[in-house]
């Protein structure tokens, strides 16, 4: 770690957001890819069972819990889609903890656009 970073880390109210984001992103990708691989294994074991209905989150979760391979894949995909969204909310909380109001506001704006996109999608 360089001197500059040590100084930054000692700033009052500073949290190591970079490090937290590293783990959020890594865990999100590893978990979602693992769920997809699980779906792939289920599919290989029973190729005929891969029926699914697209476009509904509750249906995907229900199907996945019943071991439907295509729905397990869909849940993996949804977890992957959730990863960057969780990253934005993590940044929001981090900026808030640092009392960095400007960037808290910016993070809220991005969160709102994502929420808006879900409403637009539901139309």
């Amino acid at each position: 770690m360089s001197n500059e970073n040590v100084k930054a880390a000692k700033r009052p109210g500073h949290i190591d957001l970079d490090h937290i984001l590293h783990w959020v992103l890594l865990i999100g990708v590893v978990v979602s890819i693992s769920v997809m691989l699980l779906g792939l294994v289920l599919l290989a074991l029973n190729p005929a069972s891969a029926s699914h209905q697209t476009g509904s989150i509750p249906q995907a979760i229900d199907g996945a819990l019943h071991g439907n391979p295509a729905e397990v894949l869909t849940v993996g995909i949804l977890l992957l889609m959730a990863t960057p969204a969780v990253r934005v909310v993590t940044c929001l909380i981090g900026f808030l903890a640092e009392r960095d109001w400007l960037y808290t506001f910016v993070a809220i704006a991005v969160t709102l656009v994502l929420v808006f996109s879900i409403f637009v999608a539901a139309e």
């Binding site: 970073n5 590293h22 697209t54 295509a70 991005v110 994502l114």
Partner: protein, 277 residues
């Protein structure tokens, strides 16, 4: 119904796209979409849906490394994401409203434009060290220069405009849009190339998510096409990032551009109803 053979085939194709992309500095999206439509005859809307998800995997995975190295500028990324996400929602809605043929044609045209930029060397803009209290500026340790690099971020509006266009490309075509954002950040905003590339990558996941729900709710994210594409591109990109430093990419680049232009022409022909097999 996609057979297990097709599933494996798409995974292999994804690995190839991710690997090639990582070696010449492109996301997998610009390759996975034409490969899915031309090789597996996947409808282009579904190919783009698959690419959007695949791009989230590669971006998040690369970004997890970049944030740890302090290369990705989180505040700059978040600022520009306000416009990439708005652009992506717009692009996603437009994609849903236009025909397969039109989308094939637009994709082919953008591919040729991207191919044309590939021989240009990425050049640094004028880098000004940041003030100690500046939160938008960045600093990171450069192991090649063996020193701490700090930079001030200038001309935010240029970045926002480029971000809106990049977001459009993401929502409409399922590609990351680094080709627009990186030059805007380096030449326009004074961000060093390494930080600009990392920050662009950091933004791609969130940008892709902004249109992903639109594709999902319209049934354009087929799990049996999307999951193998995502797994494949993810693995290929990880592998590519590992072996790329040891390879002379100059030669590879020429072959790559020829392949890209060939696929682009096929996409454009497809737009006019001509199938070349």
């Amino acid at each position: 119904m996609v057979s297990l053979g097709t599933f494996v085939g798409i995974t292999v194709l994804g690995v190839a796209a991710g690997l090639m992309g990582a070696m010449v500095g492109l996301g997998g999206g610009i390759l996975i979409v034409p490969l899915l439509t031309l090789v597996f005859h996947v409808p282009i809307h579904n190919a783009i849906g698959a690419s959007i998800v695949a791009v989230i995997a590669t971006s998040s995975s690369a970004a997890s490394t970049y944030v740890n190295d302090r290369l990705a500028n989180i505040r700059l990324g978040m600022t520009l994401e306000t416009f990439t996400t708005i652009g992506a929602v717009t692009g996603g809605l437009v994609a849903g409203a236009i025909s397969k043929n039109a989308l094939n044609g637009i994709f082919g045209t953008v591919m040729i434009l991207v191919a044309a930029t590939m021989f240009r060397r990425k050049s640094e803009g004028r880098i000004i060290p940041k003030d100690p209290d500046d939160r938008l500026g960045g600093d990171y340790y450069d192991p090649y220069l063996k020193k701490e690099v700090t930079y001030k971020v200038r001309n935010v509006p240029i970045g926002l405009a480029a971000s809106f266009i990049a977001g459009n490309l993401s929502g409409l075509l399922g590609i990351g849009g680094g080709v627009v954002k990186v030059p805007a950040m380096t030449l326009g905003m004074g961000v060093p190339v390494k930080a600009a590339t990392a920050t662009s990558n950091f933004m791609i996941g969130v940008t892709a998510v902004a249109s992903a729900f639109i594709y999902f709710s319209r049934g354009m994210i087929d799990p049996l096409i999307t999951a193998p594409a995502a797994i494949g591109v993810f693995l290929g990109a990880r592998l590519g990032a590992r072996i790329a430093p040891g390879i002379n990419t100059r030669h590879l680049l020429s072959i790559f551009v020829v392949v890209m232009v060939a696929m682009a022409i096929q996409m454009i022909l497809k737009a006019f109803g001509i199938e070349v097999r």
